[in-house]
């Protein structure tokens, strides 16, 4: 399968083209099956190619397939070429695996939507773009996927384009992402003008010899990439688009805004980890922003009533954990959490979709309650996803979150920040456990708060529940891919270790040392202790949520009223959107109006028209020969010009 790996992204592209061009003629059912098949077959090839890759010796585990030369301009050259190595294999498996389940689920979820075929075309296009992103062999092609997934996100958030809220959200997502892309572009320019290449292998081989660890240049490059990552992965200050993105169909939220696209920033860190390790200052920034985002989003998640918004803020928060891990130098832990999160968050979103479908597109949890008995499969799987998210032992999220927190605490890269960020991360874990159990309680337990909705609710069909069950399996057992490192059975580390971190170390001895320190030297006792603390906090969060939302529902309201100020700030998401509007959007629009109405119309045109008036005044003296038709002026000018030229040429020179 290894020689076919480049087909993985092309299959969904073919699906998109067939469904897109044939949108009028394709039978609906066939369109859905085709879309699923392209991703499913892609997954099988990816699995095959994964095992083929594993059969190779460690230092040969990278295969490149050049499709065709893309852009050449002087010293600049970039191919359209795919790379299959440990990292892209993991990512491609997640994208096609989770993606396939979500495609299948969508057949049920979107069954009655008039835009069914368009939906699957877009979903396939997204899968293609995401695979390009994770399989590109150079920064520019990665960027193609990067903007491509942004486009699909835009198209799918605004899928129900007749709703203004949906098209607003799509546009917002695209534009906010573009701000990030601006950073990514500049980062690429710096990389090219430094290393003379954008191909990963060349850049990473040359960088250590060209960049001094800790100097301005590597810091600038990595911070620019980081800006790109904050856009795509919805981190401070660019996280504002993701909650709004919930306007899209729920499976889209699961695939794009939880499992795959939003993790692109984390992938970029892992891919370019050898650059990031040359910029310790940038690493601290990444970690601090990740930690802050994790806790900020978790606090907002505490008070949201829209079930998807809770999950959206949860996603922002969990991505914060991944950034925290990357900033600590624990790139493997970041990817590990990316994988487990893909399982349990996709599960939670699809579960919420099942609930929303059952409630006739009601998303307000205050109108739900008591749905568990009617939807046993959805409840069970949603609960599994929640426990995984909360970090309850043996569930997937437990292992990955534990590894992140341990690495944060011990990271030498972060110095004194490590402990502070650990506290932040542990607190966020407490809040996480609370808000997700609150959501479970409000949705599935207690008394039905809206009888009509409750009466009509019923379990979703198997095409939706089977993917839920499969994802639940992943959410339970996925963690065993990365059981604690001291056991030496950590599959993630053994697999990814060789590709993340420094490569071709030259005089970056300092950075190499840092990388070593960030990943080695395990204190088993400490890790167990930290684990106990975070599990304890999670259990406290769970217990408290059960206490007030299942046992004493009245208490929740009382608490909300008692801390009204804080509640309102959280409910309004810290007024970040309002601030951006007042500080950025409005001034730009006003300035644009000023440029147009004042500068263009009054200043420049005033000058032009004034000159015209003056000339006309002058011209009235010559009225007898003024015919009033401009073309005859033109002819006159042309003739005059030729005459003058003739005169100059004959009489002029010498």
């Amino acid at each position: 399968m290894l020689d076919l790996f480049w087909l993985i992204p092309l299959l969904p592209l073919a699906g998109f083209l067939i469904n897109g061009i044939g949108i009028k003629w394709m039978p609906k059912r066939a369109a859905g099956y085709l879309a699923c098949a392209t991703v499913g077959i892609g997954f099988l090839i990816a699995a095959g190619a994964f095992f083929d890759l594993r059969a190779l010796p460690v230092d040969e585990r990278s295969v490149t397939h050049v499709l065709f030369p893309w852009i050449t301009a002087g010293a600049f050259h970039v191919d359209v070429a795919f790379q299959w190595d440990q990292l892209s294999a993991v990512m491609a498996l997640v994208v096609t695996g989770v993606g396939f389940l979500i495609h299948v689920y969508s057949i049920g979820y979107m069954a009655h939507d008039p835009g069914f075929k368009r939906y699957f075309a877009f979903l396939n296009l997204f899968t293609f773009a995401m695979l390009v992103l994770v399989m590109a062999d150079n920064f520019l092609l990665l960027f193609v996927g990067w903007e491509g997934v942004g486009l699909c996100s835009y198209l799918l958030i605004g899928f129900w384009y007749h709703k203004d809220s949906a098209s607003d959200a799509g546009k917002k997502a695209f534009i906010v992402n573009r701000i990030g892309d601006f950073g990514a572009l500049l980062g690429m320019f710096l990389v090219f003008w430094t290393t003379g290449s954008l191909t990963f292998d060349e850049v990473f081989a040359r960088a250590p010899g060209l960049l001094v660890a800790g100097a301005a240049l590597p810091t600038a490059i990595t911070l620019l990439f980081f800006l790109g990552a904050t856009g795509k992965s919805a981190q401070i200050p660019l996280f504002v688009w993701l909650p709004d993105a919930m306007e899209g169909p729920t499976p889209v939220s699961a695939l794009i805004h939880a499992a795959t696209m939003v993790t692109a920033g984390v992938y970029l860190f892992a891919r370019a980890s050898s650059l990031f390790l040359l910029a310790p200052g940038a690493m601290v920034v990444v970690a601090v922003v990740g930690g802050l985002t994790a806790i900020l989003a978790a606090t907002i998640g505490l008070v949201q009533n829209d079930i998807k918004r809770v999950l959206a803020y949860s996603t922002v928060s969990q991505l914060g954990y991944m950034f925290l891990a990357a900033g600590s130098g624990a790139f493997v832990a970041a990817i590990f959490h990316l994988v487990t999160h893909a399982f349990f968050k996709a599960l939670l979103f699809l579960g919420s979709g099942s609930v929303i479908e059952a409630c006739h597109h009601e998303q307000d949890m205050q109108k739900m309650g008591g749905l568990g008995k009617k939807m046993p499969v959805t409840r069970a799987t949603f609960l599994i996803g929640s426990l995984a998210l909360a970090g309850v032992p043996i569930f997937a999220g437990f292992f990955s979150k534990d590894e992140i927190l341990y690495n944060t605490f011990t990271s030498e890269l972060l110095g004194g920040w490590g402990v502070v960020l650990w506290v932040v991360g542990a607190l966020a874990a407490l809040l996480t456990a609370f808000y997700i159990i609150r959501a479970v309680a409000l949705t599935f337990y207690g008394e039905p708060r809206d009888k009509k909705i409750h009466d009509h609710a019923k379990e979703s069909p198997p095409v939706m529940t089977v993917p839920l069950m499969l994802l639940a399996v992943g959410s339970v057992f996925g963690g065993f891919l990365g059981i604690p490192i001291w056991t030496h059975l950590n599959a993630m580390h053994n697999w990814l270790g060789p590709v993340v971190g420094l490569r071709g170390d030259a005089h970056g001895a300092g950075a190499g040392h840092v990388a070593e320190a960030a990943q080695g030297g395990h204190d088993v006792g400490l890790e167990v202790l930290l684990m106990a603390v975070s599990v304890g906090l999670a259990l406290v969060g769970i217990a408290y949520a059960v206490h007030i939302y299942v046992r004493n529902p009245a208490k929740a309201r009382a608490i909300g009223e008692r801390f009204q100020g804080a509640y309102r700030v959280l409910w309004n998401k810290y007024y970040v959107d309002e601030f951006y509007h007042a500080a950025v959007v409005a001034p730009f629009v006003a300035f644009g109006r000023f440029c147009w109405r004042v500068f263009d119309v009054q200043v420049v045109d005033g000058l032009v028209n004034g000159t015209g008036q003056a000339l006309r005044g002058l011209g009235s003296l010559l009225r007898p020969i003024q015919s009033g038709s401009t073309p005859s002026y033109a002819t006159a000018i042309l003739v005059g010009a030729i005459v003058i030229m003739g005169y100059v040429l004959i009489g002029g020179p010498r």
């Binding site: 065709f68 893309w70 852009i71 050449t72 301009a73 002087g74 010293a75 600049f76 193609v144 903007e147 491509g148 384009y161 007749h162 203004d164 098209s167 607003d168 546009k171 695209f174 573009r178 701000i179 601006f182 572009l185 500049l186 690429m188 320019f189 003008w193 430094t194 003379g196 290449s197 081989a205 040359r206 010899g209 060209l210 960049l211 001094v212 100097a215 301005a216 240049l217 071709g504 030259a506 005089h507 970056g508 629009v589 300035f591 644009g592 440029c595 147009w596 420049v604 045109d605 032009v608 015209g612 401009t630 033109a634 000018i637 042309l638 010009a641 003058i644 030229m645 040429l649 020179p653």
Partner: protein, 551 residues
Amino acid sequence: MPVLTLVTFLPLVGALVIWLLPMDSRGHRATALATVVVTFLVSLQLWFGFDRSLHTMQFVENLAWIPGFGVSYHLGVDGISVLLVLLSTFLGITAVLSSFSAVENRTRSYYAFLLVLQTGMTGVFVSIDLFLFYVFWEAMLIPMYFLIGVWGGERRLYAAVKFFLYTMVGSLLMLVALIYLVIEHYNQTGTLSFDLLEVYGTDLDRTEQLWLFAAYALAFAIKVPLFPFHTWLPDAHVEAPTAGSIILAGVLLKMGTYGYVRFCLPLFPEATVAAVPVIAVLSLIGIIYGALVAMVQPDLKKLVAYSSVSHLGFVMLGVFALNLQGLQGGMLQMINHGISTGALFLLVGMVYERRHTRLIEQFGGLTKVMPAFAVCFMIITLSSIGLPGTNGFVGEFLVLLGAFGANKFYGVLASTGVILAAVYMLWMFQRVMFGTIRHKENESLKDLNLREWITVAPLLALVFWIGIYPKPFLDTMDASLVHVLEQVGAEAPAIEYDIRGGDEEHAHLGIDAPGPEAETAPIEDADTGGGDDVSAPLDPEPTTDAGEETE
């Protein structure tokens, strides 16, 4: 076969035939269509027969015209002009097809003028003789003036006169500079010649260069248009008929940018280098200013017109980056802008024909009634935004890469245009296409008909072709642009890696850290990353790699 003569004058022949037809004949548009299609087919020879390894003029025709003045009928194309000629003949078809149902009155003169205009534009790009160039440059104004002034909108006369006077001012300055140049050449060599290839060799001192550059640059700046000479453009576009806008945006503006590459750079290299800061700053202002003003336009055509100001700023910045990446990007962006903005005007024209308004607030929710139109409009919008996979990305990326290499400050500021483009285009798209239908008149709008499909489909194909496989286009321009850079004598921006000695050295460096290589201290400061002055190579043996791009 004299391909260039045919490509240039077939439209004129077609125009004459149309003028011979009766006023009310139905044959005007058929004749026009036949003419542009045949012209395009003939011009395809320029694509297939062009030798991409040469930088010299090809398909040359050189006949004495006015021997006493050294004026000749000298035509030829190189990598700089060949794609622009093809763009002209290609968009000629689009323009004629777009007029089929849009123009109903005085079709005879309309199509005749459209064809004369095409002859004028093509002539500008294929003329090597300066006199001939000037004749075409001026001649093309007249049909354009009439197209706006007769078939335009309400304020057509104001717009037409404004367009005419603006360009005229520039042209006159250019004429003076042209004459001076020819005389100077005569003084130096004793040969009176208007032949550009001979005039290239004229030896001019710095002051002369600056004055002549200024005269040429102003003429071209108005045409481009470069900020702050752009205010004729929105008026001309808004008032012009659809075909006029397509040609205006698609081809006419390129005459300005083409002029810089063809004349200013090779004729006045010293002045060019000196003028970089001025032109670059004006381009940057144009990029940002055009985008901001486009953002707040209530009229679709005006929005697209201002977006042109922004896009042409990218082109100019790329050209004046004076490195191969920027120049390639700038040239490619000329073609891209012709395709994308031409298509935008075409599409806006389609909704205008249906609704007789271009005010954005009159629309909303059109996707529901015009799904096929929505797809085309979306693709072109994305191309205009420069999304990867479309033509706009390749050009814009190279421009920005080159600009960044020339000066980081330029690169950073220009890149903000990438964000702003998304803002104004997507906002416009949303207000026109998304949401619910608010105006009753929009409920019964017809989707694209077959003719409209045929008009727009080739443009869509080009969007993806250039976006996905730009190699043939870049290869076409490559040799000639390398040659232009040699004429300017500009140094390529240094790549750190090359300064330090290329691959072998580094593969070595990369593997074993300790050793004598330690003395090649890595670059500590970002500022030296791509500056103009290349620090001396640090290795013992000097390397020449840094300059390889211009060789």
